[in-house]
């Protein structure tokens, strides 16, 4: 068991918690937060791998930076949508948003 394994284990646990949150939470704010958790788990995995694998340093860090920027944009837009939805429906329960069905 090298050190990378523990880092990746932590990342995996974080990701799983996030995934569980996305799938199971009703509150849309919590879903968005869980999504952030998943993204950060990926960031952690990337940065850790970059640190331990020779030749992958630059790329790992670079992608992590990209993800942070995109996550920020995503949260901004996501929350804007949540607010817009809240104004219309007076609720943030994600399972009530089911207009788009066949």
């Amino acid at each position: 068991m090298n050190a990378l394994f523990w880092w990746l284990l932590v990342a995996f646990l974080l990701f799983s918690i996030g995934a569980f949150g996305v799938l199971a939470r009703r509150n849309v704010i919590l879903v968005v937060m869980s999504l952030e958790l998943m993204l950060n788990a990926v960031n952690l995995a990337l940065v850790a791998t970059a640190n331990f694998r020779a030749g992958a340093e630059g790329a790992g860090v670079l992608f992590a930076l990209f993800i942070i920027v995109i996550a920020a944009a995503e949260v901004a837009i996501g929350l804007a949508i949540v607010i817009a939805n809240y104004r219309n429906r007076r609720t943030v329960q994600v399972d009530t948003y089911d207009e788009l069905k066949g």
């Binding site: 199971a24 879903v31 994600v94 399972d95 948003y97 788009l100 069905k101 066949g102």
Partner: protein, 638 residues
């Protein structure tokens, strides 16, 4: 060939002038109003003069055939047909018949159609007809002949249905065209077969091949029978004759021109033209004769009870055409064309006279409401009498000489059964023509008082044409047919029918005896008619009561129309209805819509998966990822 440059111009103009007349009248005729006839009649007059010129040329060059290929009509791969004209003596005779009668009928129509709301339309159609008819007789190939053939069919359709606001007229026009199309089906296949075996459709090429024996006997028979099918339609022979009586719905000048003197002869002309093919097939000749004689007697049998004056003449036309086919089938080619020649004049005359009678009676066509017109419309009476006597074959009128040659030819050819039937037909012809004349012109007038008051002789524009046509109807036989079997017309047509049926006519021999027999038959027939319809007018009704089935069969045209309504027409419509209702709507479209329905149901089945909730979609994605990872792990791991 000196002088062909003029002939070339004449031939071109003969076809182009009536066409020009048609186009001009169609475009501007309405504005011309009552003067609409001037241009088309002028065109036809010039054309008649030119066609006489064509005849004169043929007269002067009877051993030559003038062929002029105007331009390449159809060239596609191996198939090649020019647009070409041909003039020989047979064409010359036809030019004379069509040109003169066509011209006379145009003049007659000025008076007859006066005041009709479709005045200009009528003349336009007549001109178009002249164009098509001239193309038909001048064509130098089967395909161009077919163009004229269908063209006259079109005009016949238009003119029969001229008064299209009458249901019977529009029905009759349609019937005429479709029945003719059935014949043309055979004609088309015949052309295919001819082209396949000879590689050409031009008469000279086809006949050269036939002479050389390039066409096997079986194929020749097929070609002839298929051509005959076409001729049966156009010349109204059994079983395709049913359209002609109905065609009497058209204006009477049309009946005279198209359905008596010219178009219906096209079938006879075509068979005569194809003579080098027919002479090589015994079977085909026999069929031609059998069809002809059967039609002749059938039509006479029906004619005897008809009460419509035009229908009687129509059936007599069918019967006469039957005689022409008998002549062709017996190998008496010249006699057939001679009869066609004479028939054109006297039958045209009869129709125009009947038109004059109808005109005098204020549109009445039922002979039961006529009678006693002899003194009231004398010109019509005398000319019609000439026509009728010519028709029954009374000496010395034109019909006698021609008909006698045909009847004689059957006897000399050894076809005694045909001869006997022909004699019976001659007898019946005399009876029904006598009936027509006596019912119309003798006895008391049976019309309403109001109609009687208006009975008047037709205007000169109508009576002059009658007199003009009466001359050849009376004298043509004496001029061209004497002596029998050796007259002028025989010499004239010899170059076309170059191994003629040689029968030396001897007055004090077989020929004279046959002539006497048929003459006696005619006189007996006329006497019977006189006795039945002038002396003992109650006898016909008693005869009808005695043999009601025979009377009703004749009156109902042997029920052929009723049979046709069921077998070909009804069956086709029923089948078509079934194809539409069941095959198209239920089976084919059913499958199409069924497939669509099936996909719809599959979609319905899958619909619950689409909950619209983000989290359930995320779950599917997650599940999908897990599966993918597992698969990849399995693939790479192993």
């Amino acid at each position: 060939m000196e002088g062909t440059a003029y002939l070339q111009i004449a031939v071109a103009l003969i076809t182009l002038l009536p066409l020009l007349g048609f186009i001009v009248t169609l475009l501007f005729g309405k504005r011309m109003g009552r003067q609409a006839h001037i241009f088309p009649v002028a065109m036809v007059t010039v054309t008649a003069a030119l066609s006489i010129y064509g005849f004169v040329w043929a007269f002067g060059h009877r051993d030559e055939t003038f062929v002029w290929n105007a331009f390449d009509w159809i060239t596609a791969g191996q198939f090649h047909v020019p647009w070409g004209y041909q003039v020989d003596t047979l064409t010359g005779i036809m030019l004379l018949v069509v040109g003169i009668i066509g011209c006379v009928v145009h003049y007659y129509s000025i008076g007859y159609m006066h005041g009709d709301e479709g005045y200009y339309r009528f003349f336009a159609y007549l001109n178009l007809f002249m164009f098509a008819m001239f193309v038909l007789i001048l064509a130098d190939s089967y395909l161009l002949l077919f163009l004229g053939w269908e063209g006259v069919g079109l005009c016949s359709y238009l003119l029969i249905a001229f008064w299209f606001r009458k249901k019977s007229a529009s029905q009759a026009g349609k019937k005429a065209f479709i029945v003719n199309r059935i014949g043309d089906f055979g004609f088309t296949l015949a052309m295919f077969l001819i082209f396949v075996v000879t590689g050409t459709l031009e008469f000279t090429g086809v006949f050269a091949a036939a002479e050389k024996g390039d066409i096997s006997a079986g194929i020749t028979t097929w070609i002839c029978l298929l051509l005959l099918t076409g001729a049966l339609g156009k010349s109204a022979q059994f079983p395709l004759h049913v359209w002609l009586p109905d065609a009497m719905e058209g204006p009477t000048p049309v009946s005279a021109l198209i359905h008596a003197a010219t178009m219906v002869n096209a079938g006879v002309y075509m068979v005569a033209r194809s003579y080098p093919l027919f002479v090589q097939s015994e079977t085909a000749m026999t069929v031609v004769m059998a069809v002809g004689i059967f039609t002749a007697i059938l039509a006479s049998y029906i004619a005897i009870t008809q009460n419509d004056i035009k229908k009687v003449i129509a059936y007599s036309t069918i019967s006469s055409l039957g005689f022409m086919f008998v002549a062709l089938g017996a190998g008496a080619w010249v006699a057939g064309i001679f009869y066609l020649f004479a028939h054109g004049f006297f039958k045209g005359l009869l129709f125009l006279c009947s038109g004059s009678v109808i005109h005098a009676m204020g549109g009445e066509q039922d002979m039961r409401k006529m009678g006693g017109l002899r003194t009231k419309i004398p010109v019509t009476f005398w000319t019609m009498l000439v026509g009728a006597l010519s028709m029954v074959g009374m000496i010395p009128f034109a019909g006698f000489w021609a008909k006698d040659e045909i009847v004689g030819a059957t006897f000399i050819a050894g076809e005694y059964v045909v001869w006997v039937v022909a004699m019976v037909t001659v007898l019946l012809t005399a009876i029904y023509m006598g009936r027509l004349i006596f019912m119309t012109f003798w006895g008391e007038t049976r019309a309403d008082a109001e109609v009687q008051a208006h009975i008047h002789e037709s205007p000169p524009s109508m009576t002059v044409p009658l007199v003009i046509l009466a001359v050849p109807a009376a004298l043509l036989g004496l001029v061209v047919g004497l002596p029998p079997e050796g007259g002028w017309i025989h010499g004239f047509l010899e170059p076309v029918f170059y191994h003629p049926h040689h029968a030396e006519f001897r007055l004090l021999g077989e020929g004279g005896a046959l002539m006497l027999a048929s003459l006696l038959t005619v006189i007996v027939g006329l006497l019977i008619a006189w006795w039945l319809y002038v002396r003992q007018t109650e006898v016909p009704a008693r005869i009808a009561d005695r043999v009601p089935w025979a009377y009703r069969a004749s009156l109902n045209k042997v029920y052929l129309d009723d049979i046709y309504a069921v077998v070909p027409v009804g069956a086709t419509l029923g089948f078509a209805q079934w194809l539409w209702d069941v095959v198209d709507v239920k089976v084919i479209d059913g499958v199409v819509n069924g497939v669509a329905w099936l996909w719809g149901r599959i979609g319905d089945g899958l619909r619950p998966i689409q909950t619209g909730r983000v989290q359930s979609y995320a779950l599917y994605m997650f599940g999908g990822m897990v599966v993918l990872v597992a698969v990849f792990a399995w693939v790479w791991g192993s």
